[in-house]
């Protein structure tokens, strides 16, 4: 049984189809990169995974649960920009990952103290201890994105959605963010979906790379058909296939 299952999903805005017949099954702990040309529905697909939008047809479910009608605790998200709260300090932003769940939005007493301790541990992990009391606007782009990821993880989501998280960063920072994300994944075994424009990034980080494109194209009416997943690459082992076939079929070792 797969962890995230997308079955026969269609999405259209008005009369304009955006996505058609999208099917994909994702196992727990997989890192899925989503690539494709602009306007091919990858961001729409992510918004549907996020339950910010509901598909016009089809079902998206996590761990066999009911399809969600609005974003909630099951899903964590990091956008390219505006993913942290500018009026909270770095530490408060992390604590918000726990505090926002409460009816008043604030933690009090011993719960607050414990949350602050956990927040400091998280800040340690994402390397932002030295700026804990600063406001996000004074951080660099890479630090803001690390904070956004830390904040999302604090709420302990089932899946993490990244919408071009490193798109606005310079190449050097981007590389160190790749390193950071790889380490974080090794620790948490989180199921991740990442939309990216950067093919290299997609293949480097992802276990699988989903390519969105339009299988049918009407030159007289480019908007007539929607996009779907046209390729589903196995990106493990640097994209070279069948490297683990012996794990699956040990008997093959004796064939020769």
């Amino acid at each position: 049984m797969s962890f995230v299952s997308v079955r026969d999903v269609f999405q259209s805005y008005g009369n304009r189809p955006i996505l058609e017949r999208v099917n994909v099954e994702v196992n727990e702990g997989e890192f899925i990169s989503i690539v494709g040309a602009s306007g091919c529905g990858k961001s729409t697909f992510l918004r549907m995974l996020l339950a910010e939008e509901r598909p016009t047809r089809g079902i998206i479910s996590i761990d066999g649960g009911e399809p969600a009608v609005e974003p909630g605790l099951e899903r964590g998200v990091v956008f390219q920009k505006y993913s942290v709260f500018p009026h909270l300090t770095v530490r408060q932003n992390i604590v918000a990952g726990e505090g926002f769940q409460t009816p008043s939005g604030r933690l009090r007493g011993s719960k607050r103290r414990e949350a602050l301790e956990r927040a400091d541990a998280m800040l340690d992990r994402i390397g932002l201890n030295h700026v804990a009391d600063q406001y996000p606007a004074s951080l660099s782009g890479g630090m803001q994105q690390r904070l956004a990821i830390g904040q999302a993880l604090t709420a302990k989501p089932r899946i993490l959605l990244l919408d071009e998280p490193f798109g606005a960063l310079d190449p050097g920072t981007r590389l160190s963010m790749h390193q950071f994300l790889t380490e974080l994944r090794a620790e948490t075994k989180m199921t991740v979906f990442m939309v990216t424009h950067d093919l290299e990034e997609g293949f480097k980080l992802g276990d699988r790379v989903l390519v969105f494109d339009k299988p049918r194209w009407d030159p007289h009416d480019p908007g007539a058909f929607g996009a779907t997943i046209t390729y589903d690459f196995d990106a493990r082992d640097r994209g070279i296939p069948f490297q683990r076939i012996l794990d699956l079929y040990p008997s093959l070792a004796h064939v020769s």
Partner: protein
Amino acid sequence: MRLINRSPARPLAVALAAAPFVAVAIAYAIGSEIRLAANPSDKLLPAPGTILDTAIRLFTEPDRRSGEILLWRDTAASLIRLLGGVGIAALTSLIIGMLIGLLPYARRSLSGFVAVLSMVPPLALLPILFIVFGLGETSKIVLIVIGITPFMTRDLSQRVLDIPHEQIVKAQTLGASTWVIAARVALPQILPRLIANVRLSLGSAWLFLIAAEAVASDVGLGYRIFLVRRYLAMDVILTYVIWITLLAFIIDWALRLLTRKAFPWMEAGL
């Protein structure tokens, strides 16, 4: 060097800032001098010295009949009306603006109504307010509230809508309820704007206050100005005008200071 790229150095900048004030003062002094030379009992442009004497008298000498210093009584009465009206307007616009900005249902039902309401000229409603609320304090405060609430509401609701949608979605993925999003995400980011709105609307608030006091009142800065107008007491009127300007300036300055102290995150990026 292009004119747009030139900026004055410190001493010249101060002199340039002071120049218009000095120019107005000199122009007034000359005008007053010419008129007084022609007719020493001219009341239209009293000499600066006369205004100063009148100002000292107004600020320190009690009224012979009531034994109170009228200027301070007027100031207190006007400030209570002004701050009462602005306070009520700020609170109302904050609540309605948040509702419109956050809840699609409230937006559908209220935003058109507020847009129409903001087109009603408040001063045209003044007679109605006097008829409904009488000539007391209520009608004056209500005039200020009616005058500035609609446009403050429109601006605040727009500011709530301007909060990046990503932030609202992010808060939801952290498990925040509608209430928590309102109280912990939207409200703190809107408060600086509310204060900015109050600063902008204080000008109109003074206008409505003085208009209401001029029409029907027995105490207040606007009342006094329109009362002494009958005796052509320009020295009193000018003192009051300068005093009102000073009060408005101090309130504005205090609010600006409050914004800087209370919302350190706004300047974090600078």
